[in-house]
């Protein structure tokens, strides 16, 4: 059998397997994501208050510094091997915030360090975050164009 013939899979079997798969616990997952995601946002807000009062930052400076701090914390926790444990339980709650992005860059960097600094760490650093950057830039451009002509 080649190519197209192999499309004649055993559909009964596939349906049968699906009926056995443990269901995803949507409510539990959403609740955990809400809790952890909210907590990360609270940490961000906490940084904001501190920076505002102690260093009297404001506007873009303030927003940038808070992001940088959160990225730092995310990377640090990844390095300590804690972030993947949080992520395993929190799901989207720790993936969606900027700390999750930091984790997705730092984790392959750590992982591929063994293949050298250039071809390993640096080259493989964006294997997870790459698509986010590509489509992020693309979406940003499209929205920018729409904004321009509106």
């Amino acid at each position: 059998m080649t190519g197209k013939n192999r499309q004649n899979y055993n559909k009964n079997y596939i349906d049968y397997v699906h009926s056995f798969e443990p269901p995803t616990k949507h409510f539990k997952n959403c609740f955990r994501a809400f809790l952890v995601g909210g907590l990360i946002c609270c940490v961000g807000q906490f940084f904001r208050y501190i920076l505002e009062s102690a260093f009297s930052l404001s506007g873009d400076e303030l927003a940038g510094t808070v992001s940088i701090l959160l990225i730092f914390v995310g990377t640090l926790l990844t390095g300590f091997g804690v972030y993947d444990r949080i992520g395993r339980n929190a799901g989207a709650g720790s993936i969606v915030p900027i700390t999750g992005f930091a984790n997705s860059v730092a984790s392959p960097a750590i992982e591929f360090k063994t293949e050298g600094m250039i071809y390993g760490m640096a080259a493989k650093m964006f294997i997870v975050a790459g698509p986010i950057i590509v489509f992020g830039v693309l979406a940003g451009t499209l929205v920018g164009l729409i904004y321009l002509f509106l």
């Binding site: 993947d84 993936i95 984790n103 992982e111 591929f112 063994t114 997870v128």
Partner: protein, 329 residues
């Protein structure tokens, strides 16, 4: 006829096994030759650790049989990493002819079947069949970086960190390999790489049914039918698939992947990987055979023959299972 009967009944004279900390917390802990306290085994990378584990298992099997390198005619081994590097790199440390084999997690039974065939033919006297896997190296090759904070789906399995080696000889013990059924590649169209159990199930069913057809034996003939790494979900499916064909393996079937882990953290359906059946069979099961608590065992390790490239291109998962019968004579 896909089954060969070994007239001279090659014997299993010794084994060597090693497993990681998570595995040793489970049932195999007290049976393995070495329980690793940490999964790096003192090496700088997980690939090196996997290779070292395999080397250890092979040396231990020779040591347990009081054999020297010169006594061994052949080393048959394979693993899960690209270009089976663990096996070939382990073979580099031995002055023994090497035959690299690959059938993913079915490598243990494949190498045993090949070894038994070569010995039964009278070409060789002593052959070591070995395989192993490592959670961290497999995870990196097939999935995501270890530290990435993603979630594992509930139908997924956990790659076993461990290695096992079997020394097969023409004489020297009561445990014989009596026949072997070589499996066909079977693909029922499962594309979910996290559901290996369901993908591999039809392949095992096909090989087991072929074995029973060829030998004329019934499942009751065996004290135990051991499958490789179907996990809890896959085992359930296998019982249904074989029952559908009029073969009831329910009473004496056990799956290495299903029994290997005690603690349920993120293993979900159980263990997988070439090391899973290699460790469980060579330590726990063979110990029971040695003590004659089990006398006739059918061993069907199961392998999913996919790669990240094939699954990336939307291919389904072809699987295979080779079956060997081990009996006390």
């Amino acid at each position: 006829m896909h089954t060969i009967f070994f007239k001279n009944k090659p014997r299993i004279i010794s084994t060597g096994t090693i497993a990681g900390p998570k595995e040793c917390a489970g049932i195999v802990g007290q049976y393995v030759d070495k329980a690793l306290p940490d999964d790096t085994f003192g090496e700088s990378t997980y690939e090196k650790a996997e290779c070292k584990m395999l080397t250890y298992a092979i040396s231990k099997a020779m040591e347990n049989a009081a054999c020297k390198e010169e006594d061994i005619d052949m080393l048959i081994s394979g693993d899960l990493l690209n270009q089976i590097i663990s096996a070939s790199f382990a073979a580099r440390d031995f002055n023994i002819p090497f035959l690299g084999v690959y059938s993913a997690c079915s490598t243990m039974s494949e190498s045993m079947a090949v070894a038994a065939s070569l010995i039964d033919g009278g070409y060789f006297q002593k052959i070591v069949a070995a395989t192993g896997s490592h959670f961290s190296s497999a995870e990196r090759q097939y999935r995501y970086p270890l530290e990435l904070g993603n979630t594992r789906p509930p139908q997924s399995q956990w790659t076993v960190t461990g290695a096992g080696a079997t020394l097969i000889a023409n004489q020297g013990s009561d445990i014989a390999i009596t026949c072997a059924t070589f499996g066909k590649v079977v693909d029922f169209g499962i594309t979910d790489v996290n559901n290996m159990g369901a993908a591999m199930c039809p392949a095992v069913a096909s090989s087991l049914l072929q074995h029973f057809r060829d030998t004329g034996r019934k499942p009751e003939y065996y004290d135990l039918i051991v499958t490789g790494d179907l996990g809890a979900l896959g085992s359930r499916l296998l019982k249904d698939l074989t029952w559908e064909k009029g073969v009831d393996i329910q009473p004496n079937h056990v799956d290495c992947g299903e029994i290997i882990y005690n603690v349920v953290e993120d293993e979900f359906q159980g263990g997988s990987g070439a090391g899973c059946s290699a460790v469980v069979f060579n330590s726990y099961i063979l110990d029971k055979i040695k003590k004659r608590e089990l006398n006739k065992v059918l061993f069907a390790a199961t392998g999913a023959l996919l790669s990240t490239v094939s699954s990336g291109q939307g291919e389904s998962i072809p699987c295979i299972s080779h079956v060997v019968a081990i009996e006390n004579v």
